[in-house]
Symmetry: C2
Subunit: 555 residues, 2 copies
């Protein structure tokens, strides 16, 4: 088969105005960015706020190096639903620019299930992440500038928690000493850079209801503490207004199309560890106002992605999902059953039968939220009937179905059976969504609830310093916030090599952070990397413009 | 009169497709960014490369805190030329985002002589500067990454000259220690951040003929030296291709309009001290292919801006300007005549008569390049006829004319007399442009030539280390490059308080830098600030979205 980029290039894209027409978006609401991308001016969308569509979450088993194809399946399902006559819209995350130049690979689906134009979406797209970077770094500059000019607010420069961000993989910036070089450059202090997707501004951007809510949330960001522990916010620094102005266009959702010409909103993209890992609420709500079915996606596996989608995004926004699709592959389940990546080529139904423990756990977990779940098995060449049978049986044991999908090779036509099943579940109205825990549960207990009920740990290990921080935040009025767990995506435990369905382990909470603007408390369990590095041979080395003016080496 | 932003908002903008039609740009070449901005796909422009237009440079006397209105005059002249039936196009620089949040003020003209939409142009515009930032910082990350993975090229980490950039005023980033925090974060070393407009990528972007030339120039950037002094380039790191890919859309010129609906290209914006301070060559050439007259502008006063426009941009590109307009004001000349800013309100024709020495010097200088010069006196309320007379007389003494312009208050109609005079000069064909010095003059002598013939210094003071560097670069094959002088913009000397027309001073060259990609040698004379700081009360503090969804406090 052709490469993703070859398929993308061979496609005849429809003008974005035609896609808007198909989506029911009035011409007056369209702000084109080139011929095939547009921002939607929500002020010109009369129906925004009316949620008429059914909300379908696409999540997955724990990711493995074999690749599961969650975005690919989201696109395939969307195309298939449209193919069977259901008016459906995609709401997905924007890819981060930085990693494109590290390890080869985009984030726009694959095969015949892609959103396009893939090169533009994977590069600068409509500039949203650049705007977020600019807003984040303006706030950072205003902190040091405030200290420089006399520090009237009494910021303790040892307790500035607001770092800077860049959308690049650059390990040398993880930890820096800034303000060096003498009095004219300010006060020296330790700080560092994260990648833009790890910015709290990104999380806020994706949880804000509208621009007023955006400005209010930005104002609530806690950037530092005074010597006596008082919180200093972006609002105290009067940075919230200018940050909002920098985001005023970015906050408009981006319209593109699938290879089959169906409308897709791609907007926002926070990390799924330190943040909640879903596209913007504004895009989700816009899609719900325009379509009968909305297919959206959450980062990593269901233990991280779906849990946060439900407990953070749906809780904050009052969304009630109608169905969940858990994507898996025979290859991923084999790895969960103990097979090494190098040995994935050989048939091993027994390994799949062991590995389905991971899938079954995720099905159970999604159901805890009152959301019906169905399994999509993303077909790969080399999978065998016996291996598929092991997956089907596991789904049946859990009282649901696993459906084989061939959208990667066949586009929407390859996912029609899945689409019919999903539409049936969503139409049946059997969902009774509720978050996992109540708002008024103490913060410590919220962490414990996720750890024991989702990760199936026996306990959490919280050090006294973190205990005191949680208590302080409760006393400051942040006790009703949900928690955002930052944990390895590869395992239910904190050990990335412990695949399958481990239980009885302990979840150590290394650190807690308050994201007062985004509206959650981050519990960091194990190592957390918020600024990736480049590999020995970065993908960037092979990327260039070829003789025909096309990008060579990007994907 | 209304504020700039009020005038801009009250204007009825034409759809960008209509502006393109007026400019003679085919619909197929237009990539809209919203309704009022577009990028032009040069591949779809058949006539690119044919320079049919007359090139008119707008430059100025030395800038003063009183403000001269060079961009305003460029816009007014463009509108006036169109008003008298001459098909004219503007080619201007893009504003930098960072300073917008520092000291109040945009860079899109003023009064009734503006390019619009001014808020969008002053904020992210079409994302060009973000793309330049990303390309610059990818290269930086690839340097440290190369060292991290074994440093096969033998980079001396003490001799990495490539810093990082951000489009923000952030003094705390001027000098940083990066790579701290342990082995996983690489090798600790001193570095720092400049503002994006100071990036060599920006200078390259503005001097490249096309995307192939862009990639070749990016590859020639020298980022570091080995222990034995060998140059390490972006090409050695294989970063040039990926950087070009990051710039492939940015390199397309941006089309907007003046308040009077005339087409304007706004593209690129390098510093006028460490770089050459002109909009992109691609925009200038595109305009020359489309219009009969092209009005363009150079940064700061004519000693820096015009000299670099002639000696760097025109030399490299083989452009031959037809006329130059030197903008001045009674207020600026009063300050050059010794009046303090606080006293500018009182009539003082004698001070103007003293201050015109500055103007006369610039007229003489421009003529040294074989380009006829005319003076535009940008009218301010409070100017008196006696003061104007002093300017007119000075121009006459130099054998040219000074023409009073009221475009700020009246739009193009206020600059018709200037337009007629400029068109007459350009049409007469009296220009015989030649750069100030030959390519084969030694680098030291090039610096001395600019210092003595343009700044009227008696000598330069070059320390032995810089002498050795220049000699080394000549031996490495860079001897034919022009020089780019980085000096205070306020004076012909290196003392910013020495106004008027000083002579006989010494120009100390503090440091020399090789910009091998941009194709010039920078001579830093006096202090050079490449990362501004924010003032005590940043403009950002007052900026927010108001109740009507409009930006409040930006300008």
């Amino acid at each position: 088969m052709l490469s993703d980029i070859a398929i993308s290039r061979a496609a005849t894209l429809l003008p974005i105005g035609e896609i808007a027409r198909r989506a029911g978006i009035d011409e007056a609401a369209l702000e084109p960015h080139g011929r095939f991308k547009a921002k939607i001016d929500l002020a010109a969308l009369p129906d925004r706020g009316t949620r008429r569509g059914k909300l379908i979450l696409v999540t997955a088993t724990n990711p493995t190096p074999a690749g599961e194809g969650k975005t690919t399946t989201s696109v395939g399902l969307d195309d298939a639903l449209n193919l069977i006559g259901r008016k459906t819209m995609l709401a997905l995350r924007e890819p981060s620019l930085g990693p494109c130049f590290g390890t080869k690979g985009g984030a726009t689906g694959g095969g015949y299930a892609q959103v396009v134009p893939m090169e533009e979406i994977n590069l600068h797209f409509t500039g949203d992440f650049h705007a977020i970077t600019a807003a984040h770094n303006l706030l950072a500059a205003m902190i040091d500038n405030h200290v420089y000019w006399g520090n009237a607010l009494g910021i303790d420069t040892r307790r500035v928690s607001w770092r800077r961000v860049l959308d690049v993989n650059d390990r040398a910036l993880r930890s820096v000493a800034a303000g060096l070089g003498g009095a004219a450059n300010g006060f020296a202090r330790e700080t560092g850079f994260d990648i833009t997707v790890a910015s709290e501004v990104m999380a806020i951007f994706c949880l804000a209801r509208d621009i007023e809510d955006l400005q209010a949330r930005l104002g609530r960001i806690i950037v530092a503490r005074t010597r006596d522990g008082r919180a200093i916010t972006a609002r105290d620094l009067k940075a919230d207004g200018a940050m909002t102005v920098l985001l005023k266009d970015a906050i408009k959702p981006n319209l593109v199309q699938t290879l089959e010409g169906n409308p897709a909103l791609i907007h926002g993209g926070p990390f799924a560890n330190i943040a909640h890992g879903c596209n913007s609420l504004i895009a989700t709500e816009t899609a719900l106002g325009l379509a009968d079915y909305v297919v959206t996606e959450a980062g990593f596996g269901a233990d991280l992605g779906a849990e946060k989608f439900f407990d953070i995004k749906c809780r904050q926004a009052g969304l009630a999902p109608d169905a969940a699709v858990i994507v898996t592959t025979v290859r991923a389940l084999k790895m969960n059953g103990g097979v090494a990546k190098a040995d994935l080529g050989a048939e091993d139904a027994a390994a799949v039968a062991r590995g389905v423990a991971n899938l079954e756990r995720h099905i159970e977990n999604v159901r805890q939220f009152g959301v019906p779940a169905i399994v999509a098995v993303n077909a790969f060449a080399g999978d065998t009937p016996a291996e598929y049978a092991a997956v089907f049986e596991a789904a049946e044991r859990q009282g649901t179905r696993a459906i084989l999908c061939r959208h990667w090779a066949e586009g929407g036509a390859g996912a029609v059976e899945l689409a019919e099943a999903v539409a049936e579940i969503a139409d049946r109205g059997g969902a009774s969504f509720a978050p996992l825990y109540a708002d008024n549960l103490p913060l410590r207990d919220k962490i414990e609830t996720v750890a024991t009920r989702i990760y199936r740990a026996s306990a959490i290990a919280l050090d006294p310093h973190s205990e005191r921080q949680l208590a302080r935040w409760e006393s400051e009025g942040f006790g009703a916030l949900p928690v955002c767990m930052a944990k390895t995506q590869y395992s239910f435990s904190v050990d990335p090599t412990l695949l399958g369905a481990p239980h009885g382990h302990v979840i150590p909470v290394r650190e807690v952070r308050l994201a007062a603007g985004a509206g959650f408390v981050v519990a960091i369990c194990g190592d957390l990397m918020t600024m990736p590095g480049l590999p020995r041979t970065p993908a960037a080395e092979a990327i260039r413009i070829d003789e025909r003016g096309q990008i060579d080496g990007l994907f």
